[in-house]
Every structure is written in structure tokens, then in C-alpha cells.
């Protein structure tokens, strides 16, 4: 038995400790939960002793989380549990909450893989949210609205690239500036165009996709009736992975982020590559914003992104700048939000604390407790002046 296998087993046991206590199993004895959690932590300690430090710590954390969640579940009524833990609805809600994060994280991936830090994701998302709504309203078409949103995001991306790449500004400062600017621009236009009335009720919407899979247990509830943009987001993950790791273009883009000088020497136009990457980043983030305004909430309100751009950034870091892992992170964060939406059964205010979870997890992730996130080598560094 290698320490590695024991470590993974520990992680699994930690999750199991929580899982047995909620429907459909709903084990009522806290003893089972405690035993499983202790086993998880023991496996973690064994893994640490065997040299697998990160994995071991992950198992211990999973054990602690499983213990807390599982114990809390055994102490609450079965009726409440049945109302909160409805896996089908939770799954669908998870995907809904994750969608803007997926688009944002993929946007961040493009930009950061090419070596440009994108703190401005939040602003690009907000631009997409407003211009998606405004565009859809003006043209009475959600397709054109979505395209206008993407264009607005790309323009913002180009602005970021202009300052971060061409003018060689500090990328964090210019990204911060974009966030402030986006709040101002969208807020100003919103008040100017819609005033106190808000966006009209007949705002064109991105349609839902109904699949004839109602009869499937669980899967039918989760995937049966999802917004088109949710599917687009999932597809975008695949496309991004193929582009980034299986095409020459992707290789060039990554080389601009790892070693721009070598890439330049090999004949790559690093500046143009980075422009492309940051503009794509803006377009993708804007799609996430448009999902909020014309896919999910059916209206625009000032600053409606409410930090989702930063969660997307967190998911990107948590997912170590990889599309698949970033998707996993967004689903995890999305699940947190979905659960928080149902927890008020127990405590209306306590559920709010769940919103802080993605940030706490990211804080733990970036400190290297659970595997170190290693950013692209040249992230944040402008191309040396020739």
C-alpha cells in the first residue's frame, strides 16, 4: 500500500463521512460519521508520514469537512434534510450557478496562459451583462444581444491589452482600473437609458434546451431543462482544452506566457498573440455576464456581477490554470452556492456564510496546503523592450 493510495482513500472517506448522513442514505447515527471521518484523518496522517504531504493534508481537511457536515446532518430532522438535499435540483442549480464562473475562468485562462494577468474579469463580465441586456433590448434578439455582449467584452479586453501589453503598464493596476471603469460605464448607461424603471420585462431571453430525458432518474432532473448558455459553457471547456493543448495556436499562446523572449526569437509575434488572448478573454467573460442578465436573472441591475469575476479568477487559480480542473473548481463553487440557496431552511442568516466558501478554499489552495498552484512562468511580465 503506497502512501499515495492511502491518501486518496482518505480523501474519499472524508467525502463519504458527509455523504452517508444525507439523503438517500440518511444514516442517523453520528457514530458512523465520526468513525469514517477519523479513518479519513488517520489515512491522511499515514500519507503525510509516507511523504505525501499535500495529499495527506487534503485527506485531513476532507475528513474535517466531512465530520462537520455529516455531524450537522445527523443532528437535523429528516424532513429538513429531504427538503434541502434534492440531488436533481441541486445538480441543475449547481450548473446554473457555475456557468458564469466557467465562462469567466476560461476567459482568465486565455489571458493568463498568454502571460497577462486579468484582474479585470469582473469588469469584463459586467460589461457583458449590461451590453447583452441593452443589445438584446435594442435589437429584440437574444442572438444579437449575445454578440454585442461579446463585442463589448472584447473591446474591454483590447483596452486591457493596450495598457498591459503595448504601454507595459502594471497589469494588476490596469485590471483594477478596468473594474472601476466598468462599474462607471455600465452604471452611467443604465441610468441614462433605463432610469428608475429598470430593464423592460419583455427583454429577449436566451432559450432553454429541453431534452427528452425526463424518464432518466437524476440525470433527467439535472440535464433535462438547461439554458443554452450552460451547454455552451460546458462545450467551451472542451474547445478551450483542445485549442490550448492540442493545436499549434494553443502552443504558441502558452509559449507567450511561459517564455516570451524565446517565443519571440522563434518567430512568434508575442504582442499580437497576447492581444488575441486578452480579447478572447474579454469575450468569454462577457458571455458569462450575458448569461446573468439575459439567461438567468432576466434583467440588469447595477453591479449585478457581485464578485463573480473574482470567484472565476479564484476557480482558475484553484484549478491550476487548467480547463478541466478549473471546471471542477467552478462546479465546486457552484455547488456551494446551490446549497446555500437551500440552506435557509435551517438558518436564514447562516447560509450567507456559504458565499465566503470559494474565497476561503482559494486562500487555502494558493498557500500550497493542497497542492501548489504554479502560474505560467511569465505571468505579469511585459515583453522586455528590444
Amino acid at each position: 500500500m503506497t502512501a499515495k493510495r492511502v491518501g486518496w482513500a482518505g480523501v474519499a472517506l472524508g467525502f463519504l463521512a458527509f455523504f452517508v448522513a444525507v439523503p438517500p442514505l440518511t444514516v442517523r447515527s453520528p457514530l458512523v460519521v465520526i468513525v469514517l471521518a477519523v479513518l479519513a484523518m488517520a489515512a491522511g496522517s499515514y500519507a503525510i508520514a509516507g511523504g505525501e504531504r499535500r495529499l495527506g493534508w487534503s485527506a485531513i481537511v476532507a475528513g474535517l469537512v466531512g465530520l462537520a457536515g455529516g455531524y450537522a446532518a445527523t443532528q437535523s430532522g429528516v424532513a429538513n434534510l429531504d427538503r434541502v438535499v434534492v440531488w436533481g435540483a441541486l445538480g441543475a442549480a449547481t450548473l446554473r450557478y457555475a456557468t458564469p464562473l466557467i465562462f469567466g475562468a476560461l476567459g482568465g485562462l486565455f489571458s493568463e496562459r498568454s502571460g497577462v494577468i486579468n484582474i479585470g474579469l469582473e469588469g469584463m463580465m459586467l460589461m457583458g451583462a449590461f451590453f447583452g441586456a441593452w443589445g438584446a433590448d435594442l435589437t429584440s434578439s437574444w442572438i444579437l444581444g449575445l454578440l454585442i455582449a461579446i463585442a463589448a467584452g472584447a473591446v474591454f479586453g483590447a483596452l486591457h491589452a493596450l495598457f498591459a501589453v503595448t504601454f507595459r503598464a502594471d497589469q494588476i493596476v490596469s485590471g483594477t482600473a478596468l473594474n472601476l471603469l466598468a462599474v462607471g460605464i455600465t452604471g452611467y448607461l443604465f441610468v441614462e437609458v433605463y432610469g428608475d424603471l429598470g430593464t423592460p420585462d419583455d427583454l429577449p431571453q436566451v432559450p432553454n434546451v429541453s431534452l427528452p430525458i425526463d424518464w432518466l432518474p437524476l440525470l433527467g432532473d439535472v440535464f433535462g431543462e438547461l439554458n443554452l448558455l450552460v451547454w455552451l459553457a460546458l462545450g467551451a471547456v472542451l474547445v478551450t482544452w483542445v485549442f490550448m493543448f492540442r493545436t499549434p495556436m494553443g502552443l504558441r499562446l502558452r509559449s507567450a506566457g511561459e517564455n516570451p523572449l524565446a517565443a519571440e526569437t522563434a518567430g512568434l509575434n508575442v504582442v499580437r498573440t497576447r492581444y488575441f488572448a486578452v480579447m478572447t478573454s474579454g469575450g468569454l467573460a462577457a458571455m458569462g455576464g450575458a448569461f446573468l442578465s439575459i439567461g438567468f436573472l432576466h434583467t440588469f441591475t447595477q453591479e449585478m456581477t457581485a464578485g463573480r469575476g473574482f470567484i472565476a479568477l479564484a476557480a482558475l487559480i484553484f484549478g491550476r490554470w487548467r480547463p478541466g480542473l478549473a471546471l471542477t473548481a467552478t462546479l465546486l463553487f457552484g455547488f456551494g452556492s446551490a446549497l446555500a440557496g437551500r440552506l435557509p431552511v435551517f438558518s436564514p442568516s447562516g447560509a450567507v456564510l456559504f458565499q465566503a466558501l470559494p474565497y476561503v478554499l482559494t486562500l487555502i489552495a494558493v498557500t500550497g496546503l493542497i497542492g501548489r498552484s504554479i502560474p505560467p512562468l511569465a505571468l505579469g511580465r511585459p515583453l522586455p523592450r528590444s
Binding site: 462607471g184 452604471g187 442568516s349
Partner: protein, 399 residues
């Protein structure tokens, strides 16, 4: 398997050093040009959306109360101007302090985006102390509440410093995460049934804290306390500016901070404990921002609602204040006054709605702030002006 030592201190030049180079080139001209350009761009937006930019800006200026200094003002106008100026100075107080929180970190080569979170944590702890311990003498109560705000802010920012020192974690990421954790904790802690929700039976359904005790309120020295007159917090903020300057320019710590800011490798090589500096500097930054939160609370807010926590953007202006102020004491003061004027001048209370809608103007302020940070981020203007000057000089030599 051991973790290889991460390259915590990149050989790369830090942001602080790069900015210092730019700033030496630009002097005081660049910030002024930047502000002018931002205002002109904002004016164009106003013009394009069918309003008169000159009338708009003059109405905003009237709202700031800076016209109080004009000797030709009539007696009636002066009364209004005084009220407005008190507002502007009330807002200047937290802006100075959150500006210092960013500026001090910058001088150590750190970018503290966490002013918002540190400010909020400061507010939470000072409202707790301010609304408990009824019956203390006023002076003691005020000092305790302020210390609570400063200490909590310092600890909150210290987390980011500690993570940077121990694990080499980028402080930009950690301070952003800490901001949002502080926001959600703040939303939770004053929510219905939460620890710090008010215990007034008439307000069980209102997610707001208790009012602070009368003994914890800062004295008002200009204007009517009932009309939100100017509290003594402004003097504490001015004192903080002096502390900032002395700390940076007249102490060993300040020398070390500046050395680390320019080149952490060289500083380490010459025996400065760089890691200890990171922790200390972040803690001091957090103390500044936490102090800002405490003064706002004890000076004029007196209570916090969950809504305030989510909507307050005062602390975010700190970034613009510090950058525009070139991370210096005097610059921070001036740019804090500028942004405080903008915020007050465009507020619903002060801007004449017949000239320009305050809601629009508030967003105009955010736009101008964004433009200022964007332009300052590169000092394009400085580089452009320097090139122009060099060209002219070259022409003069050849001629």
C-alpha cells in the same frame, strides 16, 4: 518528498521600483495632467449623452463645498458651502487612511488591494466595542473602539503578509480573497439572528447593528452634530499622514521597507529580514484601513446594516488615492481631497438634481476614478511629455 523552495522573491524588478522610475520622470505634472484628461473624458461622456458638461461640473464643484474658500461668496451661500465642505472633509478622512493602506504597502513592493476588507473588519470590531461597554468614560470608550478597529484591520491584513512571508503567496490574490471573505462575514454578522444584530425588540426584522453608545461618538467640532457636522476624525487622519511620513523616512523600519520595495534580493543580501517586513508592513497597512473604518463608524455612521457592507465603495477609492498621490503623504492628502470632493459633489444630498441627475453623476465619479487609475497605471502621458521635451531640447541644440 519536500516542497522545493518557491521563488518567493523574484529577481524581477518590483512594481514599486518600476513605478518609482516612472514617477521620478513625471514629478507633479503627470498626476495633474492625468486628472485633467480624466475629467475631460468624463466631460465628453456627459456631452455625448446630451447634457452640458460645464454646467454639470460647476454644479458638482458647488456640491463639494470648496467654494467656501472664495471670499466673494454671499452669507447665505457660505452657510450651504460650509455644510457641503463638512461632508467632503468627513469623506476625506477614510480616503486618506485607505489611501495610506495602499501607499505604505506599495513602498514595500506590495500591492494591497485588501483595503476594502480591512476597512470592513475595522467597522465590525469598532461597532462591537462601540455599542457594548456602556458607561465607560467617553475618552476611554473612543480609544478602545478605535484600537479595536485598528487591531482587527492589522490582523486581517497580517494574514496576507504572513502567507506571503511563509508560503510566498501573491498578496494581490490573498487580499482580494480576504476582501470578499470580510464582506460576506460582515453581511452575515449583522443579519437576522446573527451575533451582532441589534437587540432592540422593535427592530428584530432589520439586519442592522446596535447603535453605538453616546460615549463612543467622536466629538463634532465644526457644524451641527444633528446635521452630520465635521468630527475630529479628520485630525486623526492628518496625524496618520505624519506618522506615515515619519515611519517611512525617519525610522529604521521605513528604511528597510523602502529597501525591500526597490529590490528584495539586495535587501535580503544586506541583512534585512524581508519576510518579517512583509508581515509588519501589511499589518500596518491594515491598521490604517481599520482606523478608517473605525473613524467612519464613530464619527458619523454610528451603526452598520448588511446593506452598507455590500454597497460601500469608500475603501476602494484608496487605490486611486494612493496611485494618484504617488504613494507620498502630501500626494495622498491632495488626492483624498479630490476624490472626497467628487464623491460628495455627486451625492444625492449635494448635487442639484435639476442640473444633473445625482445617480448619473455617481457613476461619472466611478468612471473618472477608473480613468485616473488606468492612466496612472502606465503614466503614458509622462512618457509622452518626456519624449516631447527631449525632442524639443534636441531641436534647440541643433538650432
Amino acid at each position: 518528498m519536500s516542497v522545493p523552495p518557491e521563488d518567493e522573491l523574484p529577481a524581477n524588478i518590483t512594481v514599486a521600483a518600476r513605478m518609482a522610475t516612472f514617477f521620478r520622470g513625471g514629478g507633479v505634472i503627470a498626476p495633474i495632467v492625468t486628472v485633467l484628461v480624466a475629467f475631460i473624458a468624463g466631460g465628453f461622456v456627459v456631452l455625448l449623452t446630451g447634457h452640458n458638461p460645464i454646467e454639470t461640473y460647476s454644479a458638482i464643484f458647488k456640491g463639494t463645498g470648496f467654494n467656501w474658500f472664495f471670499p466673494w461668496l454671499s452669507e447665505d451661500d457660505r452657510i450651504i458651502a460650509a455644510l457641503n465642505l463638512q461632508q467632503t472633509l468627513i469623506i476625506t478622512t477614510p480616503l486618506i487612511l485607505t489611501g495610506l493602506a495602499v501607499a505604505f504597502a506599495f513602498r514595500c513592493g506590495l500591492f494591497n488591494i485588501g483595503g476594502q476588507g480591512q476597512y470592513i473588519v475595522g467597522v465590525i470590531f469598532s461597532v462591537w466595542v462601540g455599542s457594548s461597554f456602556d458607561g465607560l468614560p467617553a475618552f476611554v470608550h473612543i480609544v478602545l473602539a478605535i484600537l479595536a478597529g485598528m487591531l482587527s484591520g492589522a490582523v486581517w491584513a497580517g494574514i496576507a503578509g504572513l502567507l506571503k512571508a511563509l508560503a510566498g503567496t501573491n498578496e494581490v490574490i490573498t487580499t482580494i480573497m480576504l476582501n470578499w471573505i470580510a464582506i460576506w462575514v460582515g453581511v452575515w454578522v449583522f443579519n437576522l439572528g446573527s451575533p451582532l444584530q441589534n437587540d432592540n425588540p422593535a427592530q428584530v426584522d432589520v439586519p442592522v447593528s446596535n447603535d453605538i453608545a453616546a460615549s463612543a461618538k467622536l466629538p463634532v467640532f465644526w457644524g451641527d452634530p444633528q446635521l452630520q457636522g465635521l468630527h475630529i476624525g479628520i485630525f486623526i487622519a492628518l496625524a496618520a499622514l505624519v506618522v506615515f511620513w515619519v515611519l517611512l523616512n525617519r525610522t529604521t523600519l521605513g528604511y528597510e521597507v523602502r529597501a525591500v520595495g526597490f529590490n528584495p534580493d539586495a535587501a535580503e543580501a544586506s541583512g534585512i529580514n524581508v519576510r518579517r517586513n512583509y508581515v509588519l508592513v501589511m499589518a500596518i497597512c491594515g491598521a490604517f484601513a481599520g482606523l478608517g473604518g473605525a473613524l467612519d463608524l464613530l464619527g458619523w455612521q454610528f451603526r452598520v446594516a448588511t446593506n452598507d457592507i455590500q454597497t460601500t465603495k469608500l475603501a476602494f477609492f484608496g487605490i486611486a488615492v494612493a496611485l494618484l498621490g504617488r504613494n507620498t503623504a502630501i500626494g495622498t492628502l491632495l488626492s483624498a481631497l479630490l476624490f472626497a470632493g467628487l464623491i460628495t459633489g455627486t451625492s444625492v444630498r449635494n448635487l442639484d438634481p435639476t442640473v444633473f441627475e445625482p445617480q448619473l453623476a455617481t457613476n461619472l465619479t466611478y468612471m473618472i476614478q477608473g480613468l485616473v487609475v488606468l492612466l496612472i497605471s502606465t503614466d503614458v502621458l509622462v512618457v509622452y511629455l518626456m519624449r516631447l521635451r527631449r525632442k524639443r531640447r534636441a531641436q534647440a541644440v541643433t538650432a
